[in-house]
């Protein structure tokens, strides 16, 4: 998540024509405090129960309950899935380059 913050302007065109959401099963209050502590620029969505994760095929049962796997979707202006990164390798710089290139292609 720190990489998203630090590269936000580059990856997401500074937010122009691009809405970036990070989705987890955490309560909205947890996400808000975490975002405030780290000054994260993205909007977090609270998917308690992973119901949206299930619709997107990313919910997995773990020892600590249902969680959403680390998967990034790009949805085009037409509402269709335009790019999928599964798993999203959050420690790999090339993952962010791939994401940036995909956003650029769509958000022109």
């Amino acid at each position: 998540m720190n990489a998203y913050r630090d590269q936000y302007a580059t990856i997401f065109n500074g937010g122009k024509g691009v809405a970036a959401f990070a989705v987890s099963v955490d309560p909205d209050t947890t996400l808000a405090s975490w975002a405030a502590e780290n000054r994260y620029p993205v909007t977090f969505l609270s998917d308690v129960g992973a119901d949206v994760g299930k619709k997107y095929g990313v919910a997995i049962e773990t020892r600590i309950g249902m969680l959403n796997a680390r998967v990034v979707y790009l949805i085009g202006p037409d509402g269709k899935i335009a790019h999928v990164m599964s798993p999203f390798r959050e420690t790999d710089p090339t993952a962010y380059q791939e994401l940036e290139a995909a956003v650029d292609r769509l958000a022109k």
Binding site: A19, F21, D26, Y56, I60, I75, K80, I81, A82
Partner: protein, 75 residues
């Protein structure tokens, strides 16, 4: 020797299968599929948002949906 190797492979295969069942992998949607609608409570660094965020509100924009397991896990 061949029998032993085959038995070992079968065992590894079985163990792999069992592990896969215990740890199901995500089955992401394919490119080109309609993105399922959602409306979820939203939060930013400025606090919990007064209004839920719906995919429908962002039609005409590019939307990045980054699913991740849990806050405070380093990703």
């Amino acid at each position: 020797m061949v029998k032993v190797t085959l038995a070992a492979l079968a065992l590894i295969g079985f163990a792999g299968h069992a592990t896969a069942q215990e740890r199901p992998q995500p089955k992401p949607l394919a490119v080109g599929a309609q993105a399922p609608a959602f409306s979820l409570p939203a939060a930013t660094k400025d606090g919990v948002s007064p209004k839920a965020a719906s995919l429908a509100d962002f039609r005409g924009q590019t939307v990045v949906l980054a699913f991740f397991p849990k806050a405070r896990t380093g990703g």
